[in-house]
Symmetry: C2
Subunit: 360 residues, 2 copies
């Protein structure tokens, strides 16, 4: 099973309309106790990730949320609370609410702070699975603000010189509004390859590319059976980014993850995430339309560069995801049969109506 | 000349005491018209980089500053101006002042904003060579604030799919104060390998490691003679980071670099840099000593992890530079003969006294 052509025929994917999928996910979260508004927020964030082609952060996570509700590690109807100790900062305590609920609130708070003070920082304490962080920075950019976002979580990535999982694959996202172009959206994990992609290759029994994973002993490997820990992008650079992101996101939220995790306690290994979102009020620096014209010019300059051999088109961050969004919004979202089965089983168990897929 | 042992004996380095080197650099800048305070700031920033072992960002840059003064592209006695349009933001216009002067002012302004509003953002417009950006984030962290810093400059790095230099090797720095430990300091270029290190290998005629540079046609190469453009860390990730850093640093400073550079105009290719520094008032979130205790615990957790085979000690960001600092502060700073000759020639031409090195 070492190459694509020798693999058995894959079970066909199910195509579901984005609106139907949102209704299904919102129905599940409402049935588990979330308010209609919070359920719609979670559904919108997860389906957005699927639309963008980031399936690892989309509706495939629904079973994990319901499992966290069952274990009491996430609370579907948690009341998120906000402190505003100074004009430019907000501390959003998720009280174990799902990530999309806490981070959507944080995005609103960061914008509110920025409107008052020029920039705004919202720290998020104690949430679970945020989904794709680009969803929140995009929201901020759509409101005419520049955005930076970081999430910190439980260690699952290598660190230079250490055996095993040391730090998290903590993502960084930056979003900037443009004028005639769509907003520019960087959304990257600090790992070389996303965990979901490594899992896909492992499941297919395919050899991993060099440099993406280590064995349990901390040795580089391309053998999917031995690959235990993804490696940080750029070695010490990605590992260092992840570590300082934990210090900023978890440290300022007064909810450190790394020391408790490595203490070996069961509580310390519990799934949880912290984050921060930063909004910059561009209009406080220069007229917004001058800024967005600059971003357009910058995008045009990059896309107009001479292309290297074999490159059909030079892309800017977010462009690939936006095309996926347009295609999937029109044609439906392809879901693997396992994901679709899990979703329909959960929905059926909660008396939530299951939409008819386009095909199967 | 493909291995170290076959290379001819290297000319001996000159060892200069850090204080003497600062006095020499400050003397040169004063003689070129800088105020005593500004000259001392530049000297401190450059010698700091040498102390930390980042020789590419240290006193070897002095000839380049004087060349920029000669061409009128930098102004030794420029009066940096500051606008404070909102409580949490400052716009620092360098008016072509040397980077250390502009960014030291920006660090002070970011802290002043953060003291008032909880966080502070200082954009820097139109400076030249900032030196090592970790110098400024460290200053902010030493004052008890968390710091993020970014510099944008003239394109000198590859971008996925493009031939030639497309974006800059724009660095990211994050600094966080600790308690019993020294502050944690990440300071990384968005390139795989620093330009200075590639130049060293090229000068020595040594083969480059794979993945660090492209030819003029955008093809990967390990041949130092063909290597023209360094590659971004993590491919599209490093390139994307660099591009959004330009948008944030140059876009908010209303001084875009990339569109003008790629327009091909001579003016567009002129050396210049923009930056931003962010300061976070930790005490607005939680008591500072609780935060620094968390950072200590996090550092301890990482350093106590089981080490991979062949690793003597696990390091956190900034630790290697701090050790270099201690060693070089005691033993003197080693300078290559070319750098020392250039400095002494410039100093002699300006009637600035040249200190006696430790050895030669």
């Amino acid at each position: 099973m070492s190459s694509e052509t020798q693999a058995p025929a894959k079970p066909a994917k199910v195509l579901v309309a984005a609106g139907d999928l949102k209704a299904l996910v919102a129905g599940i979260f409402t049935a588990r106790g979330a308010s209609d508004a919070d359920a719609a927020t979670v559904a919108d964030a997860l389906v957005w990730a699927n639309l963008r082609g980031i399936d690892s952060h989309g509706v495939s996570r629904v079973p994990r949320y319901t499992e966290l509700f069952d274990k009491g590690e996430s609370v579907a109807d948690a009341a998120v609370t906000v402190e505003r100790p100074r004009s430019a900062i907000a501390i959003v305590d998720a009280h174990a609410a799902p990530g999309p609920v806490a981070l959507t609130r944080a995005a609103d708070e960061a914008i509110a702070c920025a409107r008052e003070a020029g920039i705004g920082w919202a720290s998020v304490r104690g949430t679970v699975h945020t989904g794709a962080i680009g969803y929140y920075t995009s929201k901020i950019a759509q409101a005419g603000y520049a955005a930076i976002g970081v999430v910190a979580g439980v260690p699952n990535m290598a660190y230079a010189g250490a055996k095993g999982a040391a730090v998290a694959t903590s993502p960084l996202s930056v979003a900037v509004p443009a004028g005639k172009h769509e907003l520019v959206l960087l959304d990257m994990a600090t790992a070389v390859m996303a965990l979901g992609r490594i899992a896909q290759l492992k499941a297919a029994g395919k050899e991993l590319p060099p440099g993406v994973a280590l064995t349990a002993d901390g040795e580089p490997t391309t053998d999917p059976a031995l690959a235990k820990v993804p490696t940080p992008v750029g070695g010490a650079k990605g590992a260092g980014m992840s570590l300082v992101f934990e210090m900023l996101a978890s440290g300022l939220a007064a909810n450190p993850i790394i020391p408790a995790y490595h203490s070996g306690s069961k509580e310390g290994r519990r799934h949880r995430q912290n984050a921060f979102l930063l909004a910059v009020d561009i209009a406080a620096f220069l007229p917004l339309d001058e800024f967005t014209a600059t971003i357009d010019d910058t995008v045009d300059a990059i896309k107009s560069l001479p292309a290297a051999d074999g490159t059909a088109e030079i892309l800017v961050p977010g462009e690939r995801g936006r095309r996926s969004h347009a295609e999937r919004a029109a044609a439906g979202i392809p879901l693997g049969p396992k994901v679709w089965r899990e979703l329909t089983e959960i929905a059926t168990g909660l008396d939530v109506p299951v939409p008819a897929p386009f095909g199967g």
